[in-house]
């Protein structure tokens, strides 16, 4: 099974203090640690598990700056066969639609049975690229996939729905799945492994290589435009309970009961 996995190199913001750029169109990236997008890490693992069981190849693909090589190298260290980075200044400002367009151009001529993406990127949380990409490639898709099974020429996938429901779909290949976190347990890429992956080549393609028109990418190729990014003001609606753990916990139970939560 030949699998293409789309990954994104994103800032790890769980513990960081986030600052907004002066133009209000992005966050300040100085001092931030970047890593593979969490859901994409599960997507690459799922691809590697499928390859280990059924053979084939795993190609990892990203739209991003040269620094995104760190994430690609980690994927190579984990066992991906090929890495491609799509980089061009004119790609900057692309929304989910334009990003999917760039990826679609790179993928459409590849031999593949399956395309995997994470279900959502940790930075913009738009969850658009996967499903839009499927539409552009003209293949069926399933979003928020939490388990996969291979059948003859088809795959069976479980999806997580609202209210704790699970849906099972049978899908003809080639298809695209957006992978939910928790589907597997991502493996560790050791430092020696990553250093070894430095020797593997990363293919870099730009606008011309992809044969895309300039107005199909970046802000011109986007369907949405970012107006403003800001940090919401801190409101004072929070109540801080004080006292011993016993006092605080009994007060909390009272509040939860009064609010009808429990």
């Amino acid at each position: 099974m030949d699998i293409v996995v789309c990954v994104k190199h994103v800032p790890d913001t769980t513990e960081a203090e986030i600052g907004i750029r002066d133009d209000e169109k992005g966050i300040k990236k100085e001092g931030l640690v970047f890593d593979i997008n969490e859901a994409d890490n599960y997507a690459i693992e799922e691809a590697l598990l499928l390859k280990e069981e059924f053979g084939g190849s795993v190609t990892v693909l990203t739209v991003g700056p040269p620094e995104a090589d760190e994430t690609l190298r980690m994927c190579l260290a984990k066992g991906a066969d090929r890495a491609v980075r799509l980089t061009d200044e004119r790609f900057e400002g692309s929304d989910g639609y334009a990003t999917a367009r760039i990826l679609a151009e790179a993928i459409k001529d590849m031999d593949y049975d399956l395309v995997l993406t994470g279900c959502m990127a940790d930075d913009d949380e738009a969850a658009q690229v996967g499903v839009t990409l499927a539409e552009m490639l003209g293949i069926p898709h399933a979003a928020l996939v939490i388990s996969t099974e291979v059948e003859d020429g088809k795959m069976k996938v479980h999806r997580e729905l609202e209210g704790g429901l699970h849906e099972v779909l049978e899908i003809e290949l080639p298809a695209l799945f957006t992978i939910q976190t928790g589907i597997n347990e991502p493996r560790y890429a050791s430092i020696f492994g990553i250093r070894k992956a430095m020797k593997k080549q990363i293919e870099v393609l730009d606008l011309e290589d992809l044969g895309l028109a300039e107005d199909a990418v970046g802000e011109m190729g986007s369907k949405t435009s970012l107006v403003k990014l800001f940090i919401p003001e801190v409101t004072t609606q929070a109540t801080i309970l004080e006292g011993s753990p016993e006092e605080v916990s009994s007060e909390l139970v009272t509040i939860l009961k009064n609010e009808g939560v429990v």
């Binding site: 513990e15 890593d35 493996r187 050791s190 430092i191 250093r195």
Partner: protein, 377 residues
């Protein structure tokens, strides 16, 4: 499958006489199927070994009791670390271990905490920060756990109080301090250890470090015995403080009227022979009544916090060694279990809670007892 031949040569296993002193002394044998003698035997008689079928290799705390007891001078704990290396390189490790390793690579600490928050424990204290241009005679290497863990931060603050009382000219590296790598190496991530060693050596050079004192025996051990090219004196704080007291540079104005026993950290005692200094400090504190565990010094029972075990739950259930330790301390009539290691502190505190002994016994670091006895300045 692992070919056994290279291991046999690398660790000199043909010298093993299968006497079993290693396994007989292993503290984990109380609660784990871990049997290092049998593992060595399998290396000797088989061509290949499936390490994945021996999950108990992750139970080892690398306390090195086996190494101390081996009559042939072998280092059985190293063999287990070598086996972990194979699995870590394959990437097939427990998620908790993976997360600790990834966090250490990204943020310089295994606790998943931001780099920029490393020196938050020192807020409100007047501590010199070498990374902000200050100079000091001694680098106080705080360590990851005292930097970030709520409980152990109090140990770092007590250290500052003691240093100030003794007028020690010291400073910290602030947000440029990074994990020493000791536990990463023992979790089998040799590449990460090398990376951290290179980064740290460069930092020490950049700030012209001439002498270092550490909170943790784990940092102390790895800097002193494992860093290649570290050319200045490294001391564990118990050595440094015992010396301050002996030279009269640190005097007590208060008393600690409590019965105190002492948990020997394996990385301080068994691995570096530092048994007397911690006891000398405790015995110099006015009012303090010191009682030693029956199993103490070389025979001390490991707390299970070393060898990366802070991120690995044991493969089997059964009473935790730290729980046995708490019960032993209660039997001794101790009111305080003193220790000198952040990991011992955390495992023993957990055990005090799980044995329901919170009202009868407390876990304190030696430096916290010293800070209590020097009173307010």
């Amino acid at each position: 499958m692992l070919r056994t031949r290279n291991f046999v040569h690398q660790y000199d296993l043909l010298r093993c006489i299968q006497c079993g002193r290693c396994t007989a002394g292993c503290p984990l044998s109380l609660r784990s199927p871990l049997n290092i003698r049998r593992i060595i035997y399998q290396f000797l008689v088989r061509d290949q070994l499936d390490i994945k079928q021996i999950p108990e290799i992750w139970d080892c705390t690398t306390c090195t009791t086996c190494t101390l007891r081996c009559p042939k001078g072998l280092d059985p704990a190293l063999i287990l670390i070598g086996m972990r290396r194979v699995l870590t390189e394959e990437g097939r490790i427990k998620p908790t271990v993976r997360d600790a390793l990834e966090s250490t690579f990204k943020f310089g600490n295994p606790w998943g905490r931001g780099k920029a928050k490393r020196a938050d424990w020192a807020q409100g204290l007047n501590v010199k920060n070498l990374s902000e241009g200050a100079n000091a005679e001694i680098l106080y290497f705080v360590g990851c756990t005292p930097s970030y863990d709520d409980r152990v931060q109090a140990v770092a603050r007590a250290m500052v109080k003691v240093f100030e009382k003794a007028r020690v000219d010291f400073g910290i590296l602030g947000n440029e301090e990074m994990c020493c790598g000791s536990e990463m190496r023992r979790l089998g991530e040799e590449g990460l250890f090398e990376f951290l060693m290179e980064e740290n050596l460069e930092t020490f050079k950049r700030y012209d470090v001439k002498r270092m004192v550490t909170t943790s025996p784990h940092c102390y051990n790895t800097f002193k015995n494992e860093y290649e090219g570290l050319d200045f004196e490294v001391q564990h704080y118990t050595q440094f403080v015992a010396d301050l007291i002996q030279r009269g540079q640190l005097t007590f104005s208060g008393e600690v009227n409590r019965v105190v026993t002492y948990q020997d950290p394996c990385f301080l005692g068994k691995q570096n022979g530092v048994y007397d200094e911690p006891r000398a400090i405790l015995q110099s504190i006015p009012g303090l009544q010191f009682v030693d565990f029956d199993r103490s010094r070389e025979r001390s029972l490991c707390c299970e916090g070393g060898g990366g075990r802070m991120w690995v739950e044991a493969s089997t259930g059964g009473e935790r060694l730290a729980e046995i330790r708490v019960k032993d301390a209660l039997e001794l009539g101790a009111e305080v279990i003193a220790t000198a290691c952040p990991f011992c502190m955390l495992t023993l505190e957990d055990a005090v809670k799980t044995t329901g002994a919170e009202d009868s016994i407390q876990v304190l670091d030696i430096v916290e007892l010293v800070a209590q006895a020097i009173g307010d300045q």
